[in-house]
Structure formats: C-alpha cells, structure tokens
C-alpha cells in the first residue's frame, strides 16, 4: 500500500512537471506577446521596455529556468493586461465556476448513476433502450447546442429563466442543467457497461446459487464491484470542476474561469492563461491521485498482499 501510494504520488509529480513545462512551451512559442499586447504600431522602445519588464529578452532556456523557479515558489506573475497578480485574477473567478459546476456534478451523479444501473439490470428491455437512447442523444449533441436549445425554450419562448449573465441564482440554472444533462449521459453509459461487466462475473452466479434474492445479489455483490471502475470517471468529473465549463460559460456569458480563459487566450495574457492551465492540470492530477488512493482503499486486490504461507 505504501509503495503503491508513493508510486502514485511520484507519477503525479512527474505529470505536474510536464504540465508546467507544456504551459511554458505552448505559450512562449506561439507568438510574441509584446506585439499582441502593445499592438503592431507601438514604438520600438515600448517593445524593448515591455520585453525587458517581462524578461522576454533573455534566452529561452533562461526564461524557462526562471519560470520554473518562480512557479515552484508560487510566483505566477501578473496579468499582462491589468497588472494585478494573475493568481488573484483567476482566483476571483473560481467561486463563480464552482457555483455552476458543483451543482452540475450533483445532477450528473444523481441522474447518471441510477440510470446506468437500471439500464444494466433491465438490459435489452425497453427501459434499457430508452435510457440508452437518451444517453446517446446526451453526448452526441454538443453542449453548446443543448445549451442554446434550452435557452431557446426556457428563456426565449417560456421566459422563465434568463439566457445569460450572472446577476441572480436564476442565471445559474440553465448552464448548470446543460452541463448536468450532458454529464449524466456520459455517466449513465459508463455505469451501465461497468454494471454489465460485473453482472456477467461468476461470483454473481455464486451469490444467486447460495440463495440470495436478486435484489440482494445486486445490492451486496454487484454494486460494490461496479462502483470501483465508476470511481475513475467520477474522478475525471471532479478533476474538470474548474475547467470543464468553458463552452457553457461562453454560451451563457457566465463570468467563470472558462470564460476568463477564452478572453485571456484571445488577448494573449500569458500569465493568466498560464495560471489557468496550471490550475486545470493540478485539479486533474489531484483528482486522479485521489481516485488512486480511493482505489487502494476500496479494492482489496490493491491493498498490500500480506505475507503468508502458500496454499
């Protein structure tokens, strides 16, 4: 178990290093921020000063090294646009994003998990077909299309909800529901196949053969086993709480991290983009690590093998 954990933590650190480096490479090599921030018509001295200020005049590997040290110290620079700390600029958007992604996560799980389980239990019946039809619809329709359709119905036609902005709680409803439905479709499909896999296992037949009623076979033998692979996808959803809302935030003009990212990329506000990329990377890695640890706890096969005399 300890060895398993150390290995997972080491892998997480390597991933973080790669993410930090990737953020640097992508941003530095994709164009000169001075030109974009100052505009092509700015006087050459202004470029000089800007580059010197931001250290852009130094050789790339020096920049990389300094950048790495700075990141390690938690110094992620200032927004090139308004001069405030990039961390603060991003940080103040996080609660807004969580305000829609957390309830959306709840919807995804509350609908997706039971739907997947029921579909598997009633495999090949109309119940299964209906759930799978909705599920396929849910994840083949892009979320911006679903968002626009929902906005059309509930904002434009019925006038029950606002179609964009963030002034009241009502504004959060459509982006939350849009994300929740799309995610529920994905979870339902995944849960169904995890459950079907488990239901086909010999130990399920054993449980029936020992005299358990089917509902108890499902409850105490099928569900605990199906929960294990489902952890992976739940971890993925938790990992995308911060960044998974780019499209929906744009569609509904919700001023969260996702929309900030879109704007920062458009403006080549390197420091802000960098912070967001790191944040996304870290939450992903963190969620993955949490899943790995949970696996170690939930799945006895991953716990340390006790030393014991043979058969």
């Amino acid at each position: 178990m300890v060895q398993y954990l150390l290995m997972k933590i080491f892998r997480a650190l390597v991933t973080v290093t790669l993410i930090v480096s990737a953020a640097f490479v992508v941003l530095r090599l994709s164009g000169d921020p001075a030109i974009i921030i100052l505009g092509p018509e700015a006087p050459p001295e202004a470029f000089e000063a800007f580059r010197r200020n931001w250290g852009l005049d130094q050789p790339i590997w020096v920049q990389y090294f300094k950048y790495f040290v700075a990141v390690a110290q938690g110094d992620l620079g200032n927004s090139m646009r308004d001069g405030r700390s990039a961390l603060v600029v991003v940080g103040e958007r996080i609660p807004l994003t969580l305000a829609i992604t957390l309830p959306a996560l709840f919807i995804k799980l509350a609908i997706g998990l039971p739907a997947g389980v029921v579909a598997a239990l009633y495999r090949n019946t109309w119940v299964d077909r209906l759930i799978m039809m909705l599920s396929v619809a849910g994840f083949t329709v892009p979320s911006f299309v679903l968002g626009l359709v929902l906005a059309m119905i509930f904002a434009v036609w019925l006038g029950w909800l606002p179609s964009g902005g963030s002034d009241t709680w009502a504004h959060a409803v459509l982006p939350t529901v849009t994300m929740g439905l799309v995610g529920a479709a994905v979870i339902a499909r995944f849960t169904r196949s995890a459950m079907l896999e488990v239901l086909g296992q010999p130990y399920i037949r054993t449980a029936s053969a020992k005299g358990l009623l089917w509902r108890n076979v499902v409850r105490s033998h099928a569900l605990p086993n199906a929960a294990i692979p489902t952890l992976t996808i739940i971890g993925f959803l938790v990992g995308s709480l911060v960044a998974g809302a780019v499209v929906v935030e744009s569609v509904f003009s919700w001023p969260g991290v996702g929309r900030l990212l879109v704007n920062a990329v458009a403006n080549r506000d390197l420091a802000v983009v960098q912070v967001i990329l790191l944040l996304v990377g870290l939450t992903m890695v963190g969620a993955n690590l949490a899943v790995d640890i949970l696996y170690g706890i939930v799945d006895p096969r991953l716990r340390i093998k006790r030393l014991q005399a043979g058969s």
Binding site: Q201, P202, Y203, R205, T206, A207, S208, A209, K210, G211, L212, L213, W214, S220, H221, P224, N225, I228, V298, D299, P300, R301, K305, R306, Q308, G310, S311
Partner: protein, 341 residues
C-alpha cells in the same frame, strides 16, 4: 432408493435476438438420496445448463420447459422467492473457476456468514464460529485468520475449498459440483475429489459430479450419464458403463482415458468437435463423428432405450442393439421408474 431430485424432459431454448436456439433437448435424469451421479461429455454438451436451469439460474434469456421435482414437489417455474430458499439450502452448487466464483471485494468470512444467515439464521459470533468450523472441515488451516482474508490472497485449490465450505453452510441434501477441479492442477484436483468423497460419506448428501473428464467421475460415481449435443445419450451404473459401453461416443471417451496401470499409449481422442446447438445434424447428433454411422442414423435422433440385461442401462444409438439385443427393449423409455432399487 428414494428419489431426491428428478428432472423430466427438460428443454432449454436460448433467445438469440431474432430466434430461439434449442440447447437442451428433453433431458431426463434422477438423483437418489445420497447417490453420486456423474455427468460427462465434452464441453458444450449441455452439462452445466441442465443443472443451472434446474435451479432457475439461467436468467431471462433462457426459455425452459419440462419438469424438475425435488422430493416430489415441482420446482420448475416456482416463484423466485421459493427457488431462492432452495438454492444453497436444499441444493448447493459449486463451479469450475473457484477464484472468480468468489466476490473479490468481500472477505471470505463475510461470504460464508452470508450463507449461514440465509439458511440457518445465524449471525454474529456464533456465525463466525460456525464459518471457522466449516473452513476447518474443508481442510483449511488457521481458519479464524483465513476468514478475514480475501479470495485473491488464496490459491485456486483453497478457493474451491472455500466454495465447498460455503456450499456446506446450508447443510444441503444435494451438492452439484460443476467441473469442480477443471481449473486446478492434478495434485490439487485429487485433493478436492478426496474432500468431496469424505464430506459426502460423513453427511450423506447426494452429489452430482459434472466433468468433461470421464476419469474424474469414474472413481466417485454410482451412476454416470453421458451427454452429447444437448441430450443424455447413455446412462448406466458406473461398472456397467465401463464394462459394456453401448454408445460409440461413450466408447470413444473410454478409449481416450489414459491407462494408469498399462503401458503408455497414444490417447485416441474422438476426431471432430461437438456441433453448436444451431448446427445439429438431422438424425443422430453424433453421426458426423461416428465411425460406424450409416444411412439409418440420419433418419431421426435414436430413442433412448434400455440396453443389455441391466434394467438401468440406457443408450440412444440405433446400432448398439444389433450387437447386443436388449430383452427389455420393449419397456417404456420412462426410465426413472427403473432406477436401481
């Protein structure tokens, strides 16, 4: 001998989406109280589904007809609650792959106690003590410690012992052992068979021993049913089956047995393979592989009729009677009235 379980004309059709495919064609078998019935046949002959169907364990895609009686009471098509009460209680079953037949996320102890609670209402410390006693009974040392372990921490042989302990938890009248040693290596295989023999002697429970290996059932069984293509094609007391096998398929299985005493020789395995349920030939299902098949074999599936002098030897082959006409051939094929007294 008093009949414990009787299966009468059991047929199974599997729903293959567009059509039903018949995998079992009217199988009739009986198990007397305390008796050991061996069931042999190559893989795919319908051995497992016969007994899974009898316990209602085949699921909703199987359409089952015929009768299954336990102590004279019809259990085929009985309500799920009634069947669940019998399973693991009156009739227990163990399977081919012990390690994947135990739930990987639950401790051994929990899985055994679950059966004790269901069938004997035991909980808490008394259930734990009984579970430990059962592990001890099936030859597992350090029982109390083992109860806290998981299936993946044990070898296949140990897991099969645990499956047997779990089956014993309900104090069954009948244990159905479906290829209990197929996944195990030879030494362990012998140990498990010895354990089954010993348990059966002590408890007097009846045993259905299913195997694709005639050698495995030969030593232990009172009576052997040979299955082919979803039918029982020969059935006899074990001695009679080996002394005077009637059906060419049975002869083939016997010829393929390694000689323990005699000189080593090449095994003569039967050429060809078992046909899939939807590919059965029109007449005798063994005809494509039968060395002595001729035109009459293709007319229809041969009837299952008495063979030889024994009142309890039956075979389904049109040619076997040419060699050794049966006096009782005109008796009805309704053989479970003819079970040896």
């Amino acid at each position: 001998m008093e009949t414990l379980l009787s299966i009468e004309d059991l047929a199974i059709d599997f729903d293959q989406g567009k059509r039903f495919v018949r995998a079992l064609h009217g199988v009739s078998l009986t198990v007397a109280r305390g008796e050991v019935l061996g069931v042999v046949g190559e893989s795919g002959c319908g051995k497992s589904i016969t007994w899974l169907a009898a316990l209602g364990l085949l699921g909703s895609r199987a359409r089952i007809s015929g009768s299954v009686q336990l102590n004279g009471q019809e259990i085929a098509g009985a309500p799920e609650n009634d069947l669940a009460g019998l399973r693991g209680g009156r009739i227990a079953m163990i399977f081919q792959d012990p390690s994947s037949s135990l739930n990987p996320v639950h401790r051994i102890g929990r899985q055994i106690v679950e059966a004790l609670k269901l069938h004997r209402g035991m909980t808490g410390a008394s259930a734990d003590a009984e579970a430990a006693r059962l592990l001890d009974r099936v030859g597992i040392a350090n029982a109390t410690r083992r109860l806290r372990e998981y299936p993946h921490e044990m070898s296949g042989g140990m897991n099969q012992r645990i499956m047997i302990a779990m089956a014993l938890a309900g104090e069954p009248d009948l244990l159905i052992a479906d290829e209990p040693t197929t996944a195990l290596d030879a030494t362990i295989q012998a140990q498990i068979l010895d354990l089954l023999t010993e348990l059966r002697r002590d408890s007097g429970m009846a045993l259905v021993l299913i195997s694709h290996d005639l050698g495995v059932v030969a030593d232990m069984s009172d009576r052997v049913a040979v299955m082919y293509g979803g039918r029982v094609i020969e059935e006899a007391d074990t001695g009679s089956l080996f002394d005077s096998p009637a059906h060419p398929y049975t002869k083939g299985l016997i010829a393929a047995l390694p000689d323990i005493d005699g000189p080593r020789r090449r095994l003569e395995s039967i050429p060809g393979t078992v046909p899939a349920p939807d590919r059965l030939p029109p007449g005798c299902s063994f005809a494509p592989r039968c060395a002595i098949a001729s035109k009459i074999c293709d007319a229809r599936m041969p009837a299952f009729l008495p063979y030889g002098e024994s009142q309890s030897h039956f075979a389904a082959c049109v040619k076997c009677r040419d060699e050794k006409p049966a006096e009782s051939a005109r008796l009805s094929g309704n053989k479970h009235v003819l079970v040896p007294a």
